[in-house]
């Protein structure tokens, strides 16, 4: 074996350390830079009127983004209501009943594929399902699209969280004469409830920022969300897209930044808060 000079071994090792340090600086620096830009450009436009007035075409005074924020809130909450019950049931099936059967493996695989699916394809699917058949773009279609994105994420986290519950707990519940249903709902799901809540909240935060599936389902409108089932509904991410790509005006860009700031704050607060709370409870 040929000897390797210590100098070069040490040198390459130092280079690796440097690369690692540089990479984490690039990653965190990139995030910091993005957040700083959003705060710096978004903060000046924030005002009560900005938050509560509906959006208006360029040039009209008193414009805000209230309708888009309300639309996003409605669609996200609607999607959560739609997605959570079947997703929890599905997760319970995978963890408690299906286990490693071939059927469960197939369903698990489907959920994984759905999780990795580009969100714009979900938009296409919902367009074909709901917009073509009902004949109009609607907030409802957007809600369904967001629910489809949430569903596999919650289903898989539910399964993972239930699997983390020790089997002894299940066995003691069953030994006390409980039915599987009671044992699952009252004992297993209860001891995993922090994890379940985290999963639901994180996926809620994620879909509230989704844009692509809303582009051809909910579309955009300068009105308050009125006809949820029949009319296009405004949402914050689509508003940002409209105001930054389709408009040459500085004031509209500024409003886009303001909306981005509100969205980023909302999403980061949910993320950080759930992580902290869950972390504390785990110990």
């Amino acid at each position: 074996m040929t000897p390797r000079p210590v100098f070069f071994r040490k040198l390459s090792n130092h280079l690796l350390n440097l690369l690692a340090l540089g990479s984490i600086c690039a990653a965190l620096g990139g995030m910091g830079w993005i957040l700083c830009t959003v705060i710096q450009k978004g903060a000046p436009v924030l005002s009560w009127e900005f938050l509560t007035a509906p959006s208006k075409p360029y040039g009209e005074p008193g414009a805000g983004v209230g309708n888009a924020l309300l639309g996003t809130l409605l669609m996200t909450l609607g999607a959560t209501l739609l997605a959570v019950p079947p997703a929890l049931a599905g997760g319970i099936y995978l963890a408690e009943f299906g286990k490693n059967s071939r059927l469960a493996d197939l369903l698990r695989f489907c959920a994984n594929v759905l999780m990795g699916l580009p969100s714009i394809l979900v938009g296409l699917f919902v367009y074909a399902m709901l917009v073509v058949t009902t004949g109009h773009f609607s907030g409802m279609a957007g809600t369904v699209a967001l629910a489809i994105i949430m569903f596999p994420v919650i289903m898989r986290t539910t399964e993972d969280m239930l699997l983390m519950v020790p089997d002894a707990l299940r066995e003691s519940a069953l030994a006390l004469g409980m039915s599987r249903m009671r044992a699952t709902l009252c004992i297993v799901a209860r001891s995993a409830r922090n994890g379940l809540a985290t999963g639901i909240l994180l996926s809620l935060a994620r879909v509230s920022g989704e844009t692509a599936p809303l582009l051809f389902t909910a579309l955009f409108a300068d009105t308050w969300p009125g006809g949820f089932f029949t009319e296009p509904t405004a949402s914050a991410p689509v508003l940002i897209t409209e105001y930054t790509t389709n408009s040459p005006f500085e004031s509209m860009h500024a409003m886009g930044w303001g909306t981005a700031l509100i969205m980023a704050a909302f999403i980061l607060i949910i993320n950080i808060a759930t992580r902290c709370i869950f972390h504390e409870n785990k110990h």
Partner: protein, 310 residues
Amino acid sequence: MHKRDTIFCAICKAGAFVSLLLMVGIFAQLLIHSADAWKHFGISFLWGVDWDPAMDIYGALPSILGTLFSTVLSLALAIPLAFAVALLITESPEWLKRPLSQCVDLLAAIPSVIYGMWGLFVLVPLMQDYVQPFLADTLGIIHLPGGAWLLGEDGVGSGFGFLTAGVILALMILPYMSAVMRDVFRMTPPVLRESAYGLGCTRLETTRDIVLRYGIRGIIGGIFIGMGRALGETMAVLFVIGNMMECPAGLFSCGSTIATTLANNFAEATGLQQSALFALGLVLLLMSFSIQLITRYYLALTSTRRGENA
């Protein structure tokens, strides 16, 4: 089993079946709605280069190549970054591990539309004024043989284009990849690593010869996860890629990906164009599906291995 249990199990099963239904439904809907395009253009739709709504001629090649090119670029940038980040996090002291990994995870939480906006207003001017002139003239890549081909026709960019999209995508897929790699690194039995250090290996040698070999399949799985993300990302790319229906001609050239073509044209499209867009969607679905298959294969390999060691 109680009678109630049977019902409960059936309800849960129904919930789980929604995933199968959705997947089959998406495949079926895209197939049905793209039938016209396949009938009209046949399989040659895949390598048609024209996209001309006025003449009603549509070809998928520019979008497909654009998707592949931006994905490859972002992976080339993100793989070393994600690897180094994962390495640093696993090797850092206990109290620093958690905050660091959570911060990196937060990168994944920022909505893609904010990435896109930042890219459009901050990164694009930066690329135009500094990075592109630096690469082309200061480093002189443009004068090297093949340099003009690499950078695009004349080597001066508008700031938009594939390189900008690649940089943003790299930042977006980094947390997903480094999370998987982190798990793989943690999986390496400490005994193996400690023995390597005991023999006098440096950190680089331990990583290269022990950790990497032990977890190579998991790392490949992580790379494919990032690839799946980069393939289908719409908004961030839409803002910075320039949106031209042309085949990629270099790092600084503008183009489009399948996802951005869909986002740009779908709302106004009717008839054959809409069908062609559905066909593009089907192509993207097949790409992301096959990547998922590969990912699952590699990650399943590592998890059986983990099972053996547990």
